[in-house]
């Protein structure tokens, strides 16, 4: 055990004296974490703003005004009123995600359930931001839905609409006489109902009306965390954007460690020190274990450092113990990956290049660059093969996903399996090279 610790201490000492390696271990992950932390600020519970859009109200009616108000009240949107051409230019400049154009006549039909002419809205989109555009469509439909109770509570406006509809049906030659009779009777009953309702409301104070007014929603949507067995939804657990950005940032530090130590093993060979190590009275296993211990320790140091930094910025891990255990599984996994990477080539350049290429691909497919949510389906499928995805999931489970112990077992198990597999490859190839 003494030799293993001696080798690990020597490697850690060498690591601290390598400025390039220290940059990739600490400075680079901090930059990633801080950069994406600011980007994800909008996803935190206390955040404001989100998708930036422009609105062009070409109707200028009372209902279109209410629609614009509903959009502006949505905390996931940042809405500015702009002329259409200016809005389009800002979309091209990537300043806005889209523009919502309220067309003339919108106010007549918006929120009317029985209208044969639906209220018309046009949405100008950025083709390169389809996910955000799809979200925008949802928010627009939500705001239109909010106009229905507005419409029902305005009896005078409602009466005019009903009378107009009744006259249209009466004068429509294509509707058979029995159908006309049924529809005229129904509209007549509706007029009587809303006039009686109006009379009751006139006898009550405005406050009473507000309290007792009938509410209307197309549907009440409540978010819940499909991963968490109990407790509030993910959206409510996220304290700040740092909760989201730091797991990825930590992974960049971990990948830096793995790449650095993979190169260090080849460096031992290219600089001749491997010969001294192999002629000393230590076994190959002790040598490998020493390297692994150094890598493991460095990864834990990176995770620890990044966690402390994240906490200082506002990250609030819900389960510190689970975070520590997750860090250990991640460290074990990446020590295995380091072992496999170290035998990819015979030169520092080959191993360094291949190591980073592998890391970038794993990060790309694993959500280390862009959150999995925004990746195409096939890439999300491939993420199951990336240790980055499982590492981030286990960190998120401890930070804000509210995982129960059993939910950690899957990512931990996969990380351990990848680690063992990497170890096996590394030792097998190393033995073959030696012989």
């Amino acid at each position: 055990m003494g030799s293993i610790i001696d080798i690990a201490r020597k490697d850690l000492k060498l690591l601290t004296r390598d400025k390039g390696a220290m940059f990739f271990l600490f400075a680079f992950p901090i930059m990633m974490g801080v950069f994406f932390g600011f980007i994800y600020q909008g996803m935190g519970k206390k955040s404001s703003g989100g998708i930036k859009i422009a609105i062009v109200d070409n109707d200028q009616s009372e209902m279109s005004g209410k629609f614009v108000e509903h959009l502006k009240a949505n905390e996931n949107l940042t809405v500015v009123e702009l002329p259409l051409e200016q809005a389009k230019q800002k979309i091209r400049d990537k300043d806005l995600v889209g523009v919502v154009v309220v067309t003339p006549g919108f106010g007549e039909n918006a929120g009317v359930l029985w209208s044969d002419q639906p209220a018309k809205i046009r949405i100008g989109k950025d083709p390169s931001r389809m996910a955000a555009s799809a979200m925008l469509e949802g928010y627009v439909m939500e705001s239109v839905g909010q106009l229905i109770p507005e419409r029902l509570s305005d009896v005078n406006s409602l009466r005019g609409t009903i009378e107009k509809q009744r006259d249209q049906i009466k004068n429509d030659p294509d509707i058979p006489a029995p159908s006309k009779l049924v529809l005229s009777t129904m509209f007549g009953s509706m007029l009587t109902f809303f006039e009686d309702l109006n009379a009751v409301q006139e006898d009550q104070s405005n406050e009473e009306i507000q309290e007792n007014a009938p509410s209307f929603q197309l549907a009440e949507i409540e978010s819940f965390d499909a991963f968490a067995k109990q407790g509030p939804a993910v959206q409510d657990r996220i304290k700040s954007g740092w909760d989201i950005s730091f797991p990825s940032a930590i992974l960049w530090g971990v990948m830096g460690c793995a790449s650095g130590f993979a190169i260090s093993l080849v460096r031992e060979r290219s600089r001749g020190t491997l010969m001294r190590l192999q002629t000393a009275p230590i076994t190959n296993t002790q040598l490998i274990a020493g390297k692994g211990l150094a890598c493991f320790t460095a990864i834990l140091a990176v995770v620890g450092f990044m966690t402390v930094l994240g906490i200082a910025l506002g990250m609030r891990p819900e389960q510190p113990l689970m975070l520590i255990i997750s860090a250990m599984f991640i460290a074990f996994c990446y020590v295995g990956i380091m072992m496999a990477m170290s035998v990819l080539g015979n030169s520092e350049e080959a191993v360094g290049g291949a190591g980073w290429a592998i890391n970038v691909i794993l990060a790309m497919f694993g959500g280390g660059m862009i959150p999995l949510l925004f990746l195409p389906n096939f890439m999300q499928t491939f993420s199951n093969f990336s240790p980055v995805a499982w590492s981030i999931l286990s960190l998120e489970g401890a930070i804000y996903r509210g995982f129960g112990f059993s939910q950690f077992l899957k990512p931990w198990g996969i990380l351990a399996a990848i680690g063992i597999f990497g170890f096996a490859i590394g030792i097998f190839v190393l033995q073959r090279k030696k012989s």
Partner: protein, 301 residues
Amino acid sequence: MNNDRLIVECQNLVKHFGEICAVDDLSIGLREGETLGLLGPNGAGKTTAINMMIGLVQPTEGEVKIADGLAPKDREARNMIGVAPQSLSLYEDLNGEENLAFFGKLYGLRGSQLKDRVQWALDFAKLQDRRRHLVKTYSGGMKRRLNFACSLVHDPKIVLLDEPTVGVDPQSRNHIFDGVEQLQQNGLTVIYTTHYMEEAQRLCDRVAIIDHGKLLELDSVDHLIERYGGNSVVTGELAKASSGFELPGKLDGLSWRMESNEPIAEIAKLTNAGIDFTKLQIAQPDLESVFLSLTGRSLRD
């Protein structure tokens, strides 16, 4: 020290790398306390032979025994051996003291024993004043000395020095020679590979001449020269043309050349006969001549 005890014994070593036969039926026995030189040109198989002796390379055939029948990979055997590889094997981002301490720890040295041995090694390498400086700031000669010292820090019984003077300045080279002689005085067994014949001639008790993986001859330097070196070559310029006296050798104008196994006696005879020389030079046979005689080509070809 028992001069008859074989401390390293190579028996019929063969090593193939694919189609290439790097070492071909090499048998060498090394006595305790002696210095054996492995002399041969680059690519002769010296380093492969050494790597088999220290267990880094597995022989295709044959075996190596260390001390009383230990295999080179045995822990006890490894503790007895120190290796100074041909390429510098140092951590450039550690200082000299840290390098020595790390390698000492690998051999189980701890505490005051480690401290004492590191100090001894720093003195040996004459690097006390630079011990806290990173190795990457050392000169080539300093690195070579530290490389040598790292192989001795654990106090081995056998030291393998693989081309220890390659690329060093004359001062460091002399220091390395002094170091080897100090080890000899302390009774260490030294295996010294080189392609510099003067080093082998100065330092080695016996020399093994290797070429194309084969052991051509193994003997003391004097015996090798006696057997294969041929005669000394005497060249000179006569002061004036000799009259009536038949000079041995070959005369071309006033230039004279002769081969003899007793050159001094021959010259004395000529001067007694009244022959005057303006210039006289005696070239004694050396290992270069031995190698030339054994292989038909120069060691440096």
